[in-house]
């Protein structure tokens, strides 16, 4: 999929008038230009997920948001209004289209069982239920209500949560709420390393 590229020369003839003889343009169309591929695409303003400059990007998707279209990315370009990047992007930001539209994306939940030598598919509901059961078991097994000095500590020492660098503030707050309520102390993030 990724190496299948846009049709290279979708042409619009301009310039010299073309007289068709025997299927040939004997009088050549002297200048043929590709049409602007983003002319009628939908623009969505987003933020580059890579470094902390947080450049504004415009994601161009197929279609005009009409009901019968599934949007797919056709191009990503810098947002010229953004005061910091002013439309510019680095080689990572400029390749975001390939990040969104990437054949390596994970598309379904998988599990690797103890001793397993490969991934197995697992329905979402089963995966989430099993995870919840494991969380509860590990928490109940490792929860400490009082420390050696008898002081209330209410902490769960058997579970760790590590968050990534592109998680939104809102996701992070949800995680802080959920994990601190479970008593999780090992709450860490890319921010540390």
């Amino acid at each position: 999929m990724a190496t299948s590229r846009r049709d290279f020369l979708k042409v619009a003839a301009i310039g010299g008038g073309a007289a068709t003889v025997l299927g040939f343009d004997l009088a050549p169309a002297y200048a043929q230009l590709r049409e602007l591929k983003i002319a009628r695409a939908t623009e969505t303003r987003s933020t580059c997920p890579y470094c902390s400059v947080s450049c504004g990007v415009i994601i161009y998707t197929l279609g005009d948001k009409a009901k019968n279209v599934t949007p797919q990315v056709i191009h990503v370009e810098g947002d010229p209004d953004h005061p910091i990047n002013r439309g510019t992007l680095c080689p990572k930001g400029a390749s975001l289209e390939q990040d969104i539209l990437n054949p390596r994306r994970l598309l379904k939940p998988q599990v690797r069982r103890p001793g397993g030598t490969d991934w197995e598919d697992i329905p979402w509901d089963t995966a989430l239920t099993e995870i919840a059961q494991r969380v509860k078991k590990s928490r109940d097994e490792t929860f400490v209500e009082k420390d050696a000095m008898g002081r209330t500590v209410n902490r769960c020492e058997g579970i760790a949560f590590t968050g990534g660098c592109t998680d939104t503030n809102e996701f992070n707050f949800l995680v802080v709420k959920a994990m601190r309520s479970l008593g999780v102390c090992y709450l860490e993030n890319q921010a540390r390393v």
Binding site: G163, N169, E188
Partner: protein, 852 residues
Amino acid sequence: MTNGWIDIKNTDMMLIMGGNPAENHPCGFKWAIEAKRNRNAKMIVVDPRFTRTASTADLFLQIRAGADIAFLGGLIHYAIENDRIAKDYLLNYTNAAFVVKEGFKLPEDGLYSGFDPAAHTYDKATWNYEEGGDLTGKAVAAEAPHKPAPVPAPAKPGQTPPPAPALPPNVAHDLALQHPRCVFQLLKKQYSRYTPEMVERITGIPKDQFLKAADLFTSIRKNGDMKKAATIIYAVGWTQHTYGTQIIRTAAMMQLLMGNVGRAGGGVNALRGHSNIQGATDMAGIFDNLPGYLKVPNPADTDLAAYLKRITPTPSKPGQWDSFNYWSNTPKFVTSLLKAMYGDAATKQNNFAFDYLPKVDRNYSWTNIWDNMYRGSVKGIFAFGMNGVMIGPDTQKNIDALKKAEWLVVGEIYPDETSEFWRAPGITADEKKNIKTTVYRLPCAGFAEKDGSMTNSARWLQWKNAALPPPGDARLDQDIVAQIFLRVRDLYKKEGGKFPDPILNLTWPYTDPQHPSLTDIAKEINGKALADLTDPATQQTTKTGQQLPGFAWLKDDGTTSCGNWIYCGSWTEAGPLVARRGTEDPSGLGIYPNWAWSWPANRRVLYNRASCDLDGKPWDPQRRQVWWNEAAQKWVGNDVPDFKADSHPKDHLGPFIMNPEGVGRLFVPLGAVSDGPFPEHYEPFESPIQNPLHPNQSNNPVVKKLTTAADKFGTPEQGFTVVCTTYRLTEQYHYWTKNNPMNVQLIPEPFVEIPVELASEIGVRGSEKIKVTSARGTYVAKAFVTRRIKPMTIDGKKVYQIGVPIHQGFRGIAEDAERNARTPANLLSPTVIDPNAYTPEFKGFLVKVEKA
């Protein structure tokens, strides 16, 4: 960043060190180039390698990795000796005049007063200000010879430690800066040892080059001129050391000495590595904080009052000065957070559910997660967008740790090394069968598929929109966390279990609980009124249920809820300020007040009161940020004043409103920094030399080694003589773009940058394979033989440095095609951490290099 990306264009002088912004922050780096193009600003780059940033510099110095404090200490020494300091600023906006307690000792032998060698900690009693009044012009008795402070007996289990010493409310001070124990004199003494000769011995930078750089950098303060401003720009090249916090402190001290903090084109500017690292820190995705930099409770905090008393500072300043001490509002922030988390279950009677929070009294940071998983006590781990195996340090230890976990839940968009640790290279089929870990790999949504806000390095919260749905059966990350949490809650409802109260009572006020909208959460973070509120000064009101206009509205009586006080004001009744797109910049300073929203309170440059002189007039009339308006009797300006708006300059309210002193800290009292009130140069944990300042105390004394069999360290005697640094390349992004054919095409294979001289010594030509070995592991890649890293002379010894980019691992386009050795770079790095920020020492460890 104290300032912001665009503000760099206002600078006259840049010191870029411990960072490589041209490669890692190219679009932010444009503003450095703009400063050069439009102001003829000068750029000094100090780095172990001649980087692509260095290629645009006016002056480049090659430093040994990890010798940064020696360089910066040398700069401080030079600035003081040559009178290139901002005298009024120093006297009035820093604690230079504060007198330090008798008994405080500088680390001539590598140790400050109060060291306990058994516990690797300091008793910080002498790291404090002297109580008293104005000592200016008063005769000072000759100092008694230093007596070592008594070492307190270590606390026994079951014994409550004595209360921590507090800062004195009325600080002794000498405005003539002559008292031998005043901060300025101590500072001068401390860095008098950092002579250009010493700088050369430690850093490998020849004395004449160092002096050239020192002269250039401090030239903006020639003849007492205060108009110009210099910025210091750094990144993880400073944080990833066993004294990383102290390197940054040294830079901050330099900037305070030169009067550069708070000013357009000035500041101390940390370039965070990733899009929302700033936000993750703000939101306390880290063990030792709660949202908004609130310290996490510890077991000694027997109730809410005790906790608040411990973490709420009281002013500590000269009697005739004033201090805003903004952290005095801590109880309002904490109470509002508890209301946001536990809603109606948080009442005055139950200490606002304070007991629901886990109490933390030891290090639960990143490396300790893996250490304790390796030891077997961490049973399960979530990794959401976090590739722990690759990030390291010590990849092998992390893989071995995961083998001992019961379960691992990975939320990712690509197959990564962490989710596939059980089939890492070298694991045999038999071994695989013995790995009992259950691994769930859940497909998440990419950035383009999610809305929400991220906070950039300049503290701007920017809302983004979703452009398309996640592919296949992938789900939104927030939905996954919600769906797991709600299932756990159901289990506790049905089955009971250990202390279910916080789980059952956690607020979940989202329109669709299984699919919480990020808009709902953003509003929850901003906070709302839980009762009708009136501002006594303006008579403005906020009705019950309305979004709060800003953190000045927060209450400690349970009538407000707010998920993160520093984000209060980001999503008000006026709507999402984080989504604003105003492109006007009336001042031309790059403030863009109506673009998105920055914390705190939309201020773009922190401590901007310090951009003005004592009378409230800008140091540079060309770059006017804020100023005192005598007619209106308030602070006004192009930026939001980071100050008490109606504080008249004659009240001498300190510009550093978050410090209890009200002024910038050259000397950090008590335990705010655990390894010394002033930074001191220590060697990296693995170093080619003994510390020339104090060979008997070569390393940071408060750093503790981990003790598992996996934690190995190498020495020059064992043949590990080459200094190794890890880093990113501009073409790749951590462990992410190795899945992107475009970026793989740009940098197709792993390589190691090595000096020409080292290459000829080991008989390797460019693009031939080499083997890099540390005490932990081996890394094989092609040699990038370059003249951009020169051999160095360190304390008389010839030392080579090499550089290892971190990007490639064992899953990726090139990896899957077996076009590389499938070894992560962090097989090499050691697990040893900075005692303040707990960041591992990825920079400047020892290796040997051979032809493969």
